[in-house]
Symmetry: C3
Subunit: 348 residues, 3 copies
């Protein structure tokens, strides 16, 4: 698809300086953009590239004053970054709306209920009684188990596997390779040292507007539901164990792990590679720093913790500062001991 | 499938109180169950819900005395939780036995040897000379490489990839997205700073009764076998490197990683996100806590370690307690120095 | 395939002792090898097995003096290990060259440009305008998005997903289940506590000779490219966030994670489960030990860091030694306090 400066200006409500017929077919960074690409300047750090860029169109802040004439067509807006982001998001919407229909071969039993404008890619597999809402896109090689329900406007990327009975509400995005509803890790130790599987017959419920990254795993509940609440955002390679609840608008960075039955409140932020033990509660608005190991409930909303085991951020920071100085501290203790020994000896 | 109280009672050898014809078609937690669902009460904490539940049937301990009459049919057993778990496991067995036959399109060369009652889902791929034992279920989109052998009663969930030459014995369960037999990470440094691949031509052997979670990776041996011994249970997103051995009935929690050639004994427990360096031995019955970093062999059976680097659990716990107090310790040393300086000065 | 000692000797330029017609069809470790298998002895630790091995052919160092006559045919070379590795690598090349053609069903639009000697497995999916170079192998169930370019001599293992617009140069190997080009984790916080997705419209570029392990995730850039430079080697379950650059011949071990926009230099080594925050620079030749948490740029080439937060390796080692001794240190401080109290009291 090609767009002219005039067309773009209409979408982002900008003012054109230069050739309104200049046309672009893709996007580029200002320092790398080629002819027929669109770019923007928002960060003053990149100002110099404005005068050397090969882009055909540049989105620019109204307030910016040109230091010399430049070749590309300019589109002036109050905030170049926001305008650019808006444009990208419109562009992706348009591209997605063009995806429609069911590619062959795919495996879709008659019992499936499929809404309007749905796309289903080749080699996608549906179990029995699957429901898919309107405008949802299911990419190739996805597996959708028996009785799974997927709402409207969802995007299921290639190779996602959703086990039987799981529920995705509307506007959910799941990236490639992620597994929803695998068995929780439940095994009862036997007298002979072996383990017996505890059946995992709950499901996973993913609420409105949740986005989940690639190759993440979310286990089904032993009984009841593992729940990812509305607006939560999960990154790649995250482990969510059985019966966990992740609160509304909570954000979890890559490679973090949450053990069984832990309940995470709303608007919590969890850093990359952090780990949470099972059966604890995390209060609303908590912040858990990267690589932390949280072994106890966080009861006060808005607390920040760090370290493994995790404690109050500022106190850990002070301890870490002293930690780096430990060999020196030990030396000071030794010197004190020598002096005190001397004083004690002289006392006699 | 629908079951009456009479049918269920027969399976769990219980005693019915109320309508023996009450019927259920699914399971629910006592506080959430709907009509036509079965639930149970085991934990006294949930007692209040017994009197408000909408479930049609409740499994209840014999010893429990009702405080007021209730609507659902009761099935009395010595231990409600065990009875419920037994029921779930029978239910899942029944559901699995109904899966049979080979769905199309799948890709199965004539060289495949396939046992009785096997299920193979659509878009599953077999290389040459694959053997699959009786009653094994291979879900859609699975990849089974050349010369792979899979025993009886195994379950290979959707999108599992098993590279050429790997061996799974009987009663093995592999969850979705897991990769068995990818190349070990072996590269020989060259004089110019580049790396040359060391061919990885061993395989992976997964013994009887092993269960492996979702999106875990188990690399093939450089030469010989990476071995997961009988009864071991591995969670999601675990990394097992080339030539590792995991002992019988050893349990590894999510996101743990084991480096090359490390040998883990029997009945070991490894916590989530723990890491083990290569070429070490872990004695039988060791416990490695979550997020530990094990850099040396654990030679004494039954030892518990924690921390990174990992050391004896109770000693690390004591050090961690002092760590939290480090700023105060530093202050005490400073005060001592001031006092001793004063004493030394007065001495003169 | 079967090979005689004579044929093998030709490839590794060795000297035969014994029956030149002895034939083998596979490889084994010296202590486990069966008749018709080839093995080697390089490590003197395994010397005893030379005299009991069932292998039909053994590759042996020229310098080694036999202590008694043995049954297998010997092939003498200057360095048995290198000769064996060379042989394996030739063997795997031969096996790969036999894979050719496009299996059905696969989904390949007419817009695809496919080079000579390419293999494409069943259930592989191509979007529009995909380019694949000569001799590249794409295994079953792989997903190759719109406008993806893959060079010559690449191997794309089963179930790999490459999102639209990503570029793989020549001699790239990607192991099973890995995701290339999933959306970067970019969400702008809104006034009401919710998050709005920042469109991710860049791509991923994987340069010549890169090998990437299984179930790793590499996110596309927000704008521009996430780049894995020539010769880099990435293990399994690694997270590479948007706009990261990994330098030439840099090696990253399993389960490590790199946050957004971090630039890693050439010849860096990153240990397993290490984590790097976003927007930092890692100088050429840096070594980041396993489980480290790197929160600041490493500016001096060749530095080794460890710990979380990561600092200079040898200083952290000294602090860790004292850490283990902290309870004792606290006791010494207490004793000093008691003595000084006594001295102060007596002073009066």
């Amino acid at each position: 698809m090609q767009f002219t400066a005039a067309q773009i200006s209409l979408i982002i409500q900008g003012k054109i300086e230069g050739n309104a017929d200049a046309a672009v077919d893709s996007f580029g960074k200002i320092e790398e953009a080629k002819p027929n690409q669109l770019t923007f300047l928002a960060n003053p750090k990149y100002e110099e590239f404005l005068y050397s860029t090969n882009a055909s169109i540049v989105i620019l802040n109204e307030a910016y004053e040109l230091k010399e004439p430049i070749a590309p067509t300019l589109i002036r807006v109050p905030d170049a970054y926001s305008a650019f982001a808006l444009l990208l998001s419109k562009y992706q919407e348009m591209a997605a709306q063009q995806m429609k229909g069911i590619q062959q071969p795919s495996y879709i039993p008659d019992s499936a209920e499929i809404g309007e404008n749905v796309f289903i890619g080749a080699f996608a597999y549906f179990g029995q009684n699957v429901k898919v809402g309107a405008n949802t896109k299911i990419y190739p090689n996805a597996f959708i188990g028996d009785n799974v329900q997927i709402g409207d406007n969802c995007v299921i990327h290639p190779g996602v596997k959703i086990y039987y009975g799981c529920i995705l509400r509307n506007n959910v995005v799941i990236h490639a390779g992620t597994v929803i509803g695998s068995d929780g890790f439940g095994f009862a130790p036997q007298a002979d040292g072996s383990y017996k599987k505890v059946p995992q017959i709950g499901n996973v419920v993913v609420e409105d507007g949740v986005e989940i990254g690639a190759n993440t795993t979310i286990d089904r509940a032993t009984i009841g539901s593992t729940i990812i609440k509305a607006g939560a955002k999960l990154d790649n390679l995250i482990q969510i164990a059985h019966n966990v609840e992740v609160g509304n608008n909570t954000v979890i960075a890559a490679q973090a792990g949450v053990s069984g039955s832990t309940k995470i409140g709303d608007n919590v932020m969890i850093g990359g590679q952090a780990g949470l033990v099972g059966h604890i509660q995390i209060a609303d608005g908590s912040r858990i720093n990267a690589q932390s190991g949280v072994s106890k409930s966080l009861k006060t909303p808005g607390t920040t913790v760090t370290g493994s085991p995790a404690h109050d951020y500022s106190s850990v920071l002070r301890s870490q500062a002293v930690f780096r100085n430990l060999p020196n501290l030990e030396k000071r203790i030794y010197e004190l001991e020598e002096l005190v020994k001397q004083l004690m000896a002289e006392k006699v």
